[in-house]
Amino acid sequence: MNTEILTLALYALAGTLLASLLALIPALHVYNIAGIFILLAVSAQQFIGGNELAMLLLGMIVGYAMLNTVSAIFLGAPDDSTIFIVLPGQKYLLMSRGYEAAVLTGIGGLGGIAILIVLSPIAATIFGALRAIVLPHLHWILAVIITYMLMAEWPKGGDRGATGLARLWDAWKGLGAGILTFVLSGLLGIVLMYASPVPTDRAFQNLLPAFVGLFAVPWVMDNVLSGAQIPTQHIAKTFDAPPSMIARGVFSGALGGLFAAFFPVVTGGVGGYLAGHATAQRDDRVFIISQGTSKFLYYVGAFWLFFLPTARIVKGGMSGMLATIYTPTGPDLYYVSVGLIAVCGVLSFLLLLAYSRAAVWLVQKVNYRYISLATLFLLVGLVYFFTGLGGLAVMLVAIPIGWLPVLWGSRRMNCLGVLLVPITLNLAGLGPTVAQWLGLI
């Protein structure tokens, strides 16, 4: 058994190290690379054992959840979970405190590890019961979340224009762009669910081109086009956050992260956003810490729930992919996974410190446009590899939608309509009806 655990630990650590390399490539999502492993496992059943593959992916997601902060803050390439870190993170970056922001996010991640460890003995009971309670009500809860997301932008501006029309335009342009982004993303999501151009034998990566188009490409292109200058960064020796502030941040982030990890469709960004509003944290440092916790719990927590004995909850891209070929069994593996989350999480935090320093050097030495261009080619290549020409078409449709928030200053979170709209409609039993109205089925 000890040898077996050691082997699993080696796979997990290898996964973390692999993810740490991927984290250096802005906008490259861990699910894209995990998809390659899943494809390998499907096509060559014996290339790796089920538990070993699970731990490799566990290490990867832990590493990614901690280290994607680097690309989000220093390279301005967020995914759906880091979109809220970018603004305060880049604010810190422009104040020469990017390194400090990265460390604060990492501390939030360490808080997330502590939360998982504390919850691990009772998680099966809690989440099993919660799932039973929540399942029949998913559709209206999601509808409420969507409504709140859209309404929470109100009011926005509208009091400084010279004329009534100018004020109306000022008030509505951002809101209107947000709503339009949400509607268009939702339509895109419905198309992907019922008549996806992605080949059916690659349906497990159906959302990849949409996410790349909505989140990754617009930011990369924005970086290429804007050519922003980054001031010299200061490597702080201490971080300016007392324990009470850390506790507040971790608590707030844990609420959002666990909500996102557990609740279907809700992503880390949405979870963190809701928790931030619920706990009304105003300090940037608390916010950054909470987003670090939320992001970590969203990614790692969702995967951790997959190992829960009896309650095995399949939530999130990683467990969704892995569940198609693997079923974890027994409490031993669960506790091994909890232990390895802690080990890989601490290793990732140490790597985060080093990588953040490297990123500080990188953004000052290497032309950021070249990095972004290389990333763009890599993303397009990945989309084509996984989803073919159909996927590229979806990505091309998604890019202008992803551009809307950039151009109109609305929330990028509205792009999550690609998930929220079709799933909510489906849970309400209306998905096929709407798809029929659109002539899709």
């Binding site: 349906a203 399949v314 449709v397 939608i401 659109l438």
Partner: protein, 546 residues
């Protein structure tokens, strides 16, 4: 903004003009999770209807594989409202979303509109002609109701017989939940059934699709037509016929009796196996001169034709016309039957000496028919259709302890007759297939000297059972998540907070809990850990349902 709107509109337009891709069930793999596809196939099982969850599940097969399909909530309502309930035998084309899991793949029907169902056309057929070619085809058969049983809650099996053979008609509780109960009937009623042929362990059965497909006939079925005995020749072998005549001879053999039945046209041997004979209430009247009516299958044994009834109700005996010189049939099992008293002289029992205690190793074939007492430990227990066979070991040798079902029922401690138990048995030695066996005549002939070592009383977490526990006795407690039959018992999947494991329960162990086993029930199982086809299982010695 224009690009975004135009892009989405073009995508919707293009996607709307594209046909939903057709998938082969056998090609569905992990990378097709959440794919929206079209499937063509035949409904092979179902519908399985859950009114609480508002779900309808059914299985669909094409030439490459089988998949479970389901409709939920609104789609279920739509299907019910439209009367489009996929039922076994239907050809179906459907669209929906695949859901792939490591251990299970399923298909969620998108809407009632996306299911095109073509019911099967029925053809009339004789029961004996039903074969593999008819699988999932609709047939119409006529016959009379010969038996009714309920293997478990939610399934009724009606045995239907015509002149050619018998077949089970399966009526599922789900069908009755959806459409109401099947018409009432009594044994012997002539009925017409339209249903779909499916196979259960290589045996054909007809699955009723709608209650209205089961119709009671006004006249008795053709199988009830009585034919002259003289008309039965080799051409009728394997056919079912009904005869009527009088008994001219009754001969006992080791496993039953042979009865010669004659009418004006000829004579025929009727074979009544002991288990069937035991179930005939007035079997004692089976004697020379008795009137007899029998329905059975014609067989040929050593060149002679004989008729073999398959159930007790197939044999109707009227009191003997001539009772002089009658040879009464020795039938202890029927001795308490409430038959009318007859003047038939009963054989008097010869006084027998008290059986002597013997060592098993000292017994030989020469001891056949001797009454002996054996003391030994049960090392194996196997069920068979008419009782139990145990292996008894007294260190000098082993012998089969055969206890007929009627005797077993009278043994109060029968649940404790399991490997490890020490027993003292008084019985008659017999030789069967060159092996010795001891057969106790009644329940009191079996005494429990020492009970088997009990399995551990403390239950273990299922997830803690590992390969190192193989051959160890363990006890586990959990919820039943799956039940499956096999030829000698049931496979029960038990799950607790730590994991799940298969419990293999043989019929002898199931006896005490068979009516309580149900999905969701809490079960405690004690038994030995075994490794079967690479998976751990527990072979149960004891089961207890809470």
């Amino acid at each position: 903004m224009i690009l975004a709107v135009a892009g989405v509109l073009i995508l919707v337009w293009v996607a709307g003009g594209t046909a939903t891709p057709l998938a082969k069930i056998g090609d569905i793999g992990a990378t097709m999770n959440y794919a929206y596809v079209r499937l063509n196939g035949t409904v092979t099982r179902g519908p399985i209807y859950d009114p609480d969850a508002q779900s309808i599940r059914f299985y669909v097969a094409d030439d490459t594989g089988e998949i479970q399909a389901g409709a939920f909530r609104d789609v279920t309502q739509e299907l019910l409202a439209a009367g489009k309930i996929p039922t076994v035998g239907d050809k179906i084309t459907m669209e929906g979303t695949l859901r792939v899991r490591d251990d299970f793949t399923s298909f969620n029907l998108a809407s009632a509109d996306k299911a095109q169902i073509i019911p099967p056309a029925a053809t009339e057929i004789e029961i004996a002609a039903i074969g593999y070619d008819d699988e999932y085809h609709s047939v119409i058969v006529r016959g009379d109701v010969r038996d009714v049983r309920q293997p478990y809650q939610g399934l009724s099996l009606i045995t239907l017989g015509d002149a050619s053979g018998e077949v089970d008609v399966a009526i599922s509780g789900d069908m009755e939940k959806l459409y109401g109960a099947a018409p009432s009937f009594v044994l012997g009623d002539g009925v017409q059934v339209q249903g779909v042929v499916t196979y259960f362990r290589d045996t054909p059965q007809i699955v009723l699709r709608r209650p209205g497909d089961f119709q009671k006939l006004d006249v008795a079925n053709s199988a009830a037509t009585i034919i002259p005995i003289g008309s039965i020749d080799a051409a009728r072998v394997n056919q079912r016929v009904q005869i009527q005549g009088y008994v001219t001879r009754v001969t006992k053999f080791s496993q039953g009796v042979r009865v010669t039945v004659a009418d004006d046209s000829g004579a025929l041997t009727l074979v009544l196996w002991q288990d069937l004979l035991d179930q005939i209430p007035n079997a004692r009247e089976l004697q020379d001169g008795a009137q007899l009516q029998a329905l059975g299958q014609v067989a040929q044994y050593r060149g002679e034709l004989e008729l073999v009834p398959q159930r007790a109700s197939d044999v109707k005996i009227s009191a003997a016309v001539a009772q002089q010189n009658a040879t009464a049939l020795p039938n202890p099992a029927a001795s308490d039957a409430t038959a009318a008293p007859t003047v038939t002289p009963r054989p008097t029992r010869e006084p027998t000496p008290a059986p002597a205690q013997r060592a098993i190793g000292a017994l030989t074939a020469a001891d056949q028919d001797a009454w002996v007492v054996l003391n030994g430990v049960i090392t194996r227990a196997n069920t068979f259709s008419q009782g139990m066979r145990y292996t008894l070991d007294d260190t000098t040798g082993k012998i089969t302890l055969l206890i007929w079902a009627d005797v077993l029922e009278k043994i109060a401690f029968r649940d404790q007759l399991k490997p490890g138990a020490q027993v003292r048995v008084t019985g008659k030695i017999d030789v069967f297939n060159d092996a010795l066996e001891i057969i106790p005549a009644n329940g009191s002939a079996v005494e429990l000297v020492a009970a088997a070592q009990t399995s551990p009383s403390a239950t273990r977490a299922i997830g803690s059972i590992a390969a190192s526990d193989v051959d160890q006795l363990v006890a586990v407690k959990g919820t039943i998540t799956d039940l499956a039959d096999f030829s000698k018992g049931k496979y029960v999947t038990l799950q607790d907070d730590s994991g799940k494991i298969q419990i293999t329960a043989f019929s002898s162990v199931l006896e005490t809990v068979k009516d309580q086993l149900a999905l969701g029930a809490t079960l405690t199982a004690r038994g030995k850990v075994n490794l079967f086809r690479g998976k751990l299982e527990i072979v149960a010695d004891e089961l207890a349902v809470e």
